[in-house]
């Protein structure tokens, strides 16, 4: 990763996070505008950092997990900006950016290894990583939507409107957001994991080698698969769907955490 550009990007994300949270309590339009600018600025710097790193390596900066997480953050920010524009849910970034920040801090402080041995590379590997990352990015938004849903629903049940009641959009909007992000993220995650499994066979010698990340990702996938099935087949909605989104995301975080902290083939 290009160190200066990346640090600048993280500084911009920190500023954007602070401003987005401030906008939650202090509804001044200019705060939101500044937050958006900081987010876009951070994203552009981040783009620069990733490009620089890619050029330096002569391959996509995706080979080690910290690199991949950084790219995932990049996708999340882009997606969040787009969804915010599409749905008009201006408080979305207040729920997405803290997560983004947590990940990008972690990714930037973890020592980046030279990456996978070239022999293990190949186009399918990049596709595996790329698709999984897009899936993860969608699930970050899925989590943010679910969190907002639960907060708003809590406010409505309390019957005593607080600041968040005025700030957060309608339950239906949030439920739709969680459903759409789930429907978007799931196929990417599925194909991503499948490719990983197919690739792992020849590369690692066995599909069932113990790799914490691989195993946990299957757990997360199962939770999401269950939620999607529940939503489409059994008509789950609202609170239940939101709880599942949160559990699924926790599993996903655990997965990435395992990849970052535990020894395994995904390298840290």
């Amino acid at each position: 990763m290009h160190p200066t550009l990346l640090s600048l990007a993280i500084i911009a994300y920190v500023a954007a996070t602070g401003l987005s949270l401030a906008y939650l309590v202090q509804r001044e339009e200019w705060i939101h505008r500044l937050a958006s600018l900081a987010t876009i600025g951070g994203w552009l710097l981040h783009t620069g950092a990733l490009l620089a790193r890619g050029l330096q390596l002569g391959r996509p900066p995706l080979a080690s997990l910290p690199e991949a997480v950084s790219v995932a953050v990049w996708v999340v920010v882009l997606l969040a900006l787009w969804v915010e524009r599409q749905t008009g849910v201006k408080v979305l970034s207040a729920f997405v950016l803290p997560v983004v920040l947590m990940f990008s801090m972690k990714a930037s402080t973890t020592r980046s290894l030279p990456g996978l041995e070239p022999a293990l590379g190949g186009a399918w590997l990049w596709v595996h990583i790329g698709l999984t990352l897009i899936g993860i990015a969608a699930f970050v938004l899925n989590f943010a939507g679910a969190l907002m849903y639960l907060l708003q629903e809590h406010q409505l049940r309390l019957k005593r409107p607080g600041t968040l009641y005025y700030r957060l959009p309608a339950l239906e909007t949030l439920d739709r957001l969680t459903y759409r992000t789930l429907a978007l993220g799931f196929p990417f995650l599925t194909i991503g994991i499948l490719l990983g499994v197919l690739w792992a066979g020849p590369a690692w010698g066995s599909v069932l080698t113990f790799d914490p990340l691989a195993l946990l990702s299957v757990v997360a996938w199962t939770i999401y698969a269950g939620t999607l099935a529940g939503r489409t087949a059994a008509g789950w909605h609202g609170r239940r769907a939101a709880y599942f989104a949160i559990v699924g995301f926790a599993a996903l975080v655990l997965t990435l955490g395992a990849g970052l902290f535990l020894p395994g083939r995904h390298g840290s």
């Binding site: 509804r27 339009e29 309608a170 339950l171 239906e172 909007t173 739709r176 008509g235 609170r239």
Partner: protein, 422 residues
């Protein structure tokens, strides 16, 4: 000439007095003419609503102007001036400007952020304009007051959150549903407030509307009024299954919608949210429905609680609005003062230019056969000297106007340079 506002409002005058002083349009015209006819008041605008009676004007002696205006008013309404006089407040100049901005922005209203006052000020302005009592001072003041009011409405949320129970219910519905378009409404009972809430929902696009009532004729009548469909009483539960929002306002002593009934219905709804607005006392919907997934129930107390929170929210926003008004008033005052010093700056320039041209002509007459370059040099030299000399006093005048101390400086400049007052 001082700008002033004098009057009384809901803040200090009781409603019995305010209603006695409220004036209709014809009489307002007459009053405006009377007040400006004597020359005591140069420009005037009278704002008369049920919450305030105020005279805005420009007069050499505001105290006299105020006495004159209210003497006329009291005479017309048969109220003793002795009753009114002690309640009157007067604001001058900057304070009058701020007051005009605050009133138009609905910051001085009984219910902060209520929308009527701006229209009332606009009407008062139009009337005064028609009577030709608006001049170079009040015209910019009120045009700016309208602009400030618009900014306050757009940039703060003082007018955004509902302060009536019926509207609060609509707002709640908008926090549950992404939009009210094509949301089905069921109205149970024939209470006035229920009908009002249903009407608000329909205005926001809710459709279709079903009406259930124990009295069939009443149900039909209400359905007609709301362009809805009347359903017989025993179809209440069936109707529940298909709608999104239920408004209840029956006079029944026992709940007409039980938890069991709602539970039976929700199974078929696939957790589509169901919102109960229970305006009836005693309540029509069993409180137990709260614990069902996707079901939200607000009774009259809950709605009042929301209204209270909304009012608190408006007051919080009012602080921001006040700051905005304060900034705008400051800007307006600065602009007015600039306007006041400009004539002096112009005559100062004219005076020095006159001297320069006179002296230049004399010098050139003496140098009859000087080459054109010399003439040009003299021209440039004299202009430069004049500009250099003017620079300091003009800057000082502009600065003093911003600091509010321009009157003494204006005098001084006039004295020093022998300028004649226009």
């Amino acid at each position: 000439m001082p700008l002033f506002v004098a009057g009384l409002s809901h803040r200090n005058a009781p409603v019995e007095l305010r209603e006695r002083l409220a004036v209709e349009e014809d009489k307002l015209r007459e009053l405006l003419r009377d007040v400006t006819a004597t020359g005591t008041v140069e420009e005037a605008l009278i704002l008369s609503t049920c919450n305030r009676v105020e005279v805005y004007g420009v007069a050499p002696a505001p105290g006299e102007a105020r006495a004159l205006a209210f003497r006329h008013l009291c005479q017309h309404r048969g109220v003793s001036p002795a009753l009114v006089e002690p309640l009157l407040y007067t604001h001058l100049e900057e304070d009058a400007i701020r007051h005009a901005f605050r009133v138009a922005s609905s910051l001085d209203s009984m219910m902060i952020g209520e929308p009527q006052i701006l229209g009332q000020v606009k009407e008062a302005f139009a009337l005064a304009q028609a009577c030709a009592t608006i001049g170079p001072s009040l015209h910019p003041l009120f045009t700016q007051a309208f602009a400030v009011a618009k900014r306050v409405r757009n940039e703060t949320e003082i007018a955004r959150h509902a302060v009536s129970v019926a509207f609060a219910a609509v707002e709640l519905a908008k926090k549950i549903f992404a939009g009210l378009a094509r949301k089905a409404v069921l109205l149970v009972g024939a209470g006035k407030m229920g009908e009002l809430a249903a009407r608000h929902l329909v205005e926001q696009g809710a459709f279709p509307v079903y009406v259930v009532n124990r009295t069939w004729a009443r149900a039909q009548e209400m359905a007609r009024a709301l362009s809805g469909t009347a359903l017989p009483w025993d179809e209440l539960e069936t109707a529940l299954a298909g709608v999104d929002i239920v408004i209840t306002s029956t006079g029944a002593a026992e709940p007409v919608i039980t938890r069991a009934a709602v539970q039976r219905v929700t199974n078929g709804r696939r957790a589509r949210p169901l919102f109960f607005i229970d305006i009836a006392v005693p309540r029509d919907v069993e409180a137990g429905v709260d614990s069902l997934g996707g079901v939200y129930r607000y009774d009259i107390d809950d709605l009042k609680q929301v209204v209270d929170a909304n009012i608190r929210e408006r007051h919080r926003e009012a602080h921001r609005a006040e700051a905005l008004v304060e900034r705008e008033a400051g800007k307006f005052v600065a602009r007015l003062r600039d306007v006041e010093v400009i004539p002096t700056i112009v005559s100062l320039r004219e005076r020095l230019e006159e001297i320069r041209l006179g002296e230049l002509r004399k010098a050139l007459a003496r140098l009859a056969d000087a080459p054109p370059e010399t003439r040009q040099a003299l021209e440039a030299l004299s202009s430069a000297i004049v500009n250099k000399i003017l620079h300091a006093p003009i800057t000082k005048l502009r600065e003093s106007s911003r600091a509010g101390a321009h009157r003494t400086w204006l005098e001084l400049v006039h004295e020093l340079f022998g300028l004649t007052r226009k």
